[in-house]
Amino acid sequence: MTISSRERGEIFAITRGEEKYLSKINRWVKAGVLVAGVIAGSVAMAGEKIRIATEGAWAPFNFVDEKGRLAGFDVDIANALCAKMKVECEVVAQDWDGLIPSLKVRKFDAIVASMSITEERLKQVDFTERYYSGGLRFMGPKNKTFDTTREGLKGKVVGAQRGTIGGQYLEDNFSDVVTVKLYDTQEGVYLDLLAGRLDGALSDELPTWNWLSSDKGKSFEFKGEAFAKDDQIGIAVRKKDPLKQRLNQALQEILKDGTYERINQKYFPFSIY
């Protein structure tokens, strides 16, 4: 049997191809070793790194800006605290109802997500001192007037975010007279207010204030006065984590040196401490 020159060329080509393939594998292995080395090195060099979680859907406290980065009052406070503690921080986003469960299983070390200090939460986690205070307030469309009493709200559809103090207040005090609709995010509440599915909403006064002064919220207004004004917002850490004391100290420092006031002014023309 003779092999034509054409066939011989093909056989040659196959061996060449295999060679190429082998050298490719070789390269990948080398690259892999290199990458692993770099990662190991950087982990060893980085030292302490604190992971801080926020929600990313609670403007202006925490939201995703037009460049896709987390921003807002909470994020600025978190970064200021880290700068004071002289540690490297990474701010990550996590859905609201997964925040406390994820903190407990060490997905991150602290929650700076405008979380109110409540007794129910204190059973699960520890909180620092407050870094701002808030209150609850109803809102609704300007063309509808209603009292925010049980009688006034009778038969209304009122929305709130699931797992917030506003949502639980509605469930505990109004669920027998109003239809309570619970949303995954506050933005869902705003969307359904605009769609006309909701007669009103209950949430923290400050984010609502921010939305009402935006273009989208211009046909809505606060209803009634703010209440539950003893609401204190703190940073959640795991139980007995010494990080709490360090955060508290850093908080005192940024309150003293004016950093806090500067961040406050960026978002609100009045003090929210």
Binding site: I100, R162, Q168, K181, L182, D184, A195, G196
Partner: protein, 229 residues
Amino acid sequence: MDWSVVAEYYPRLIDGAWVTLQLVVLSGFIGIILAIPMALARISNKRCINQFPRLYIFFFRGTPLLIQIFLIYYGLSQFEWVKNSALWPFLREPYWCAVITLGLHTTAYIAEILRGALQAIPAGEVEACRVMGMRKFTMYRCILLPRAFGIMLPAYSNEIILMLKGSALASTITLLDLTGMARTIIARTYTPEEIYIAAGAIYLLISWMFMAFFKLLDRYFNKHRLVTV
């Protein structure tokens, strides 16, 4: 693990399970009703007839159910004319938005399952109908559709189970189905393991019920395949 929360909250989980069951049954019903004409049009040789079902199936199978739910719930409500239409009392409610979306979604899948089953009927049986001189309508009503239903049962029961699990997405539009209820309870008790395990067990129970139901249907429609001892 603290199982007392399950004991405390199980009535609310049952409420949620009831909503889930309604969603699956109602959307499954819409699905089978719409899928029959859809599948028949799909197997037509005429382009003008089979084009719409082709596009419909392409769209609903090719996009995620979550996106479809958001499009119908948040998307449609952006248009003033939708809010002024006679459909708004329905589209206003998350319940009906979920039923409509799940129904339209499962229609596409059932239509494809039914089409496959119709095409799997042995040619000899179709010829036998023609030899008997049956009209097309009689042939489909009395022979082909019941036959196809028998053939598609396993795939169809599969689809219903998938819808049962897909219905969990209704919790994203404020509906308190089993998943929505579980998440609402967890937001208060912070006991995700216990409540999710309980919810999972209820889902298993529901799918077991569906499987038992389809076993009965299978015995009825596929009598000819039962081996008699």
